[in-house]
Amino acid sequence: MSDLVTDNLNMVFKLPDGSSVHALKDVTFTLKKGELLSVLGPSGCGKTTLLNIVAGFLHPTGGSIKLGGSIIEKPGVDRGMVFQQGALFEWLTVADNVNFGLRMKNADKKDTKQKVEEWLSIVGLQGFGETPTYQLSGGMQQRVALARCLINDPDLILMDEPLGALDALTREKMQSLVLKIWKETGKTIMIITHSVEEALLLGERLFVMAPRPGRLHKQYRLPFAEMGLDGDPREIKNGEKFIHTREEILTMIWNMEEEIMGKVEVA
């Protein structure tokens, strides 16, 4: 079982002036295979730090993190990443972006080509293989980024505010796409987001994090992702339970932000 298991994760950044920042404190959770997790929180609560640790870009200063039983030490192909701006290689075509991972390990060319076409059609970009990346719109770029990440067949997909830079309409379409991929591939997905609505809709599980030091504040198990697989996302968003939860979380985050501002004033 390739579960993601963290145990008392701590991350302390030392600053050049000798002081230190406690970015993550005692974060403990288990993410089972096939679960869809969204992480929400005010800025500075350590969301991105957590993601970077899971990705292997950072080493925690305390505690342990394991994926499928082995400790995460460095970035690997078992964890795919999708960034806010896509982070596509704009000097390559769509196909060359998507097959980047396979090219890096010198995979069979014929096989690669077939896989690229397969994934392009899954993300809805059939026939765009030879298009230069810089000619794509923001939503299409994110689709390429998704395909590029998924073609490596990772156990865990990490998304760092993947839809933050998109307009509302494209965003809704992309949310459906993420749900569709989750359902069809059964991948474990961890999404970091600023948007409460998105976190609710895309979170089978939802962590709300609190700042200073960054920690897990509250955990939810939500039905909306399951509902979104078949139902109309807009209807779900208008549901009474959805609105109730949304308001609850918004108030929570609002209070956290106020607390920070208050602290700043005292200091």
């Binding site: 990443m81 982070a87 000097w91 590029r148």
Partner: protein, 624 residues
């Protein structure tokens, strides 16, 4: 003929481009700020407008157009210049160009100086007797000076002489208006005149003998005028009273000088003598006597202007920015016609020099030569390679036979001592310059880009190499030139190293900027897609830095080209800068101009190539 057609075509292109441009402007969108939102795009019609106006200025101010439309103008203006040259000595004595008469100028200067002397004397500490002597002398000199202006003591015959001169000048003015002047054409003279090399065909530039009717008039007038001028200049106002007084003054100066002991006294005496000697020229006349000559000169000039007719118009508009001047036995262009060579002449010079048999200083401009491959092998393969091979070199035996072995054959190969086919190799001044730039640039890219990327990726490298690069980069490359040329020699090595230094610094900085500017998320993405460090550098950082690197190459080419030409001017025996340097020493404006244009066009060509390469290789630039 070709120039004339080209000139008219250029005028038409200019007019068309302006009209077309105005028409396009009317259809363009306008915006509140700076009008057109696509203002940065330019347009081919404005390119045509710019090029044609530039060429028109060149054709006009180099007098190439003037020569094409009025091939006789220079010869005729040469004759006018001859007349002007003949008139000038008289003319300069009158307030026509100057504000005062020559006599007035001389008298005022001398009187002023004698006044200064008198003041100086009053300040000096001298015995009373000496002071009185000197002051009396000064008074006498002053009186003699004043005497020149008086008609009472004027030399005899001067008024008659001036009257005669005035009449002769007036007669010349009348002659100029007379259609008969200067009489029938002398066939032999005309044939000789027509046989002269044309305008710009020889080193004397302008044919000096008159070739046209109008030219003959001014040539003949110039000859007459020269005689009048001679008589005028020989006229001296040496009246007997003045001569006597000067004699006296001089005698007294001599006596006082013999008796003088004090240095200051001697100095003053010397100054007085200097002023008194000026009277010797006898060039100051009473004002009234010369009035007639002045009036006749005005008449003559009026007649000259009338007789020139359209020629004056041509002089002003077809040959702008300068004049044609006459010398002792030649006429020459002065002003822009001289230092701005004519396009057609420049092109002719270029074609003449482009002939590989001709070249410049025994070296072709732009050609190739066949070079045996063995020479290149000799250059590339080090001779010591033969020493590394085991066994011994051959030796001789008892019978005196020399036995060469395998090792000897390798040595012959390394030294290029074998028969081989030849391949064409570019050679010539222009090729040499281009190859030097490319070699320097190539080495700069080869070493600069990796170091720049390294500096962009490592704090150590950034810190360690930064002082090195940043310290030598701001120094103008030419400041290095003397040192580099001393160390590496004035041939290609030194210049290529100099260019390498220039290109290296620029490439390091641009590659570093490119590497630094790579978004962390792209590196992360590549990393999590399974790329190794090496693959990230090759597949992500290098292509991501390409826009900066290519811009760096574009800048390097420009700077290298400028540095190379300057370095070639300092030292060397080939190259486009060398050509210009030699031409400069010989004041050969056509070749100087030709080299300037060749450099400009090559620079433009390099830049166009780079623009094309940039557009083709990094179309994503600014869109990522």
């Amino acid at each position: 003929m070709i120039v004339a057609i080209l000139y008219i075509a250029l005028v038409i292109v200019l007019a068309w481009s302006i009209m077309h441009g105005r028409k396009v402007i009317r259809t363009e969108r306008t915006d509140a700020v700076f009008g057109n939102p696509i203002r940065t795009q330019g347009g081919y019609h404005w390119v045509a407008c710019g090029v044609s106006s530039l060429l028109l200025v060149w054709f006009t101010f180099s007098w190439d157009a003037g020569r094409a439309f009025f091939p006789n103008a220079a010869n005729e203006l040469c004759q006018v210049a001859k007349l002007n040259r003949a008139i000038n000595p008289i003319r300069s004595a009158f307030p026509l160009d100057n504000r005062h008469l020559l006599g007035t100028r001389i008298l005022s200067r001398d009187l002023h100086q004698i006044e200064l002397l008198s003041e100086e004397l009053s300040k000096l500490d001298l015995p009373d007797a000496d002071r009185e002597n000197l002051s009396a002398l000064i008074d006498d000199v002053r009186e003699a000076l004043v005497l020149q202006a008086s008609s009472e003591y004027m030399a005899s015959g001067i008024s008659e002489r001036f009257q005669d001169i005035a009449i002769r000048i007036e007669q010349l003015a009348l002659d100029l208006q007379n259609d008969e002047f200067p009489g029938p054409v002398d066939e032999a003279q005309m044939a000789e005149a027509l046989a002269q090399p044309g305008w710009g065909e020889s080193s004397t530039e302008i044919p000096v003998l008159p070739q046209t009717e109008r030219g003959r008039i001014f040539d003949a007038a110039a000859e007459i005028m020269a005689g009048i001028t001679k008589d005028y200049s020989e006229t001296r106002n040496d009246g007997p009273e003045l001569v006597k007084r000067i004699e006296e003054i001089r005698q007294r100066i001599g006596e006082l000088e013999a008796a003088a002991t004090q240095e200051t006294y001697k100095d003053i005496l010397g100054d007085i003598e200097k002023i008194s000697k000026r009277v010797d020229d006898f060039r100051v006349f009473p004002t009234q006597v010369t009035k007639g000559v002045e009036a006749s000169l005005v008449l003559l000039e009026k007649a000259m202007q009338d007789r020139q007719g359209a020629l004056r118009f041509i002089d002003t508009w077809a040959l702008p920015g300068g004049d044609i001047l006459a010398g002792n036995n030649a006429c020459s262009e002065q002003g822009s016609g001289r230092w701005l060579p004519k396009p057609s002449d420049t092109l002719a010079t270029f074609i003449w020099m482009a002939d590989p048999a001709q070249g410049y200083k025994g070296f072709p401009l732009f050609w190739y030569k066949m070079k045996p491959v063995s020479e290149m092998v000799d250059f590339i393969v080090p001779d010591s390679i033969a020493d590394l091979i085991p066994r011994e070199y051959g030796d001789h035996d008892e019978q005196g036979n020399i036995n060469y072995g395998f090792k000897d054959r390798i040595y012959s190969f390394a030294t290029g001592d074998f028969d081989s086919f030849a391949v064409p190799v570019p050679t010539g001044h222009i090729w040499d310059s281009i190859l030097r730039v490319l070699a320097g640039l190539f080495l700069g890219i080869l070493l600069g880009v990796p170091l720049g990327l390294f500096m962009g990726l490592s704090r150590f490298a950034k810190g360690y190499f930064d002082p090195l690069v940043e310290l030598y980069r701001p120094i103008p490359p030419l400041a290095w030139a003397p040192l580099i040329l001393t160390i590496f020699g004035i041939q290609d090595d030194g210049k290529i190293f100099l260019l390498f230094m220039v290109a290296f610094a620029i490439m390091v900085i641009s590659a570093r900027t490119g590497a630094t500017g790579t978004q962390l998320s792209k590196i992360h993405a590549a990393h999590s897609l399974g790329a190794s460090n090496r693959q990230i550098i090759q597949q992500v950082i290098l292509p991501n830095s390409l826009p900066e690197i290519l811009t760096g190459i574009r800048i390097s080419i420009g700077v290298c080209w400028g540095t190379l030409v300057a370095a070639e001017m300092l030292a060397g025996t080939t190259g486009i800068g060398f050509v210009e340097n030699v031409a400069r020493k010989q004041s050969d404006y056509e070749i100087i101009w030709m080299t300037i244009i060749v450099m400009g066009i090559l620079g433009l060509l390099f830049d166009l190539i780079m623009r094309f390469v940039i557009e083709k290789t990094i179309p994503w630039r600014g869109k990522g």
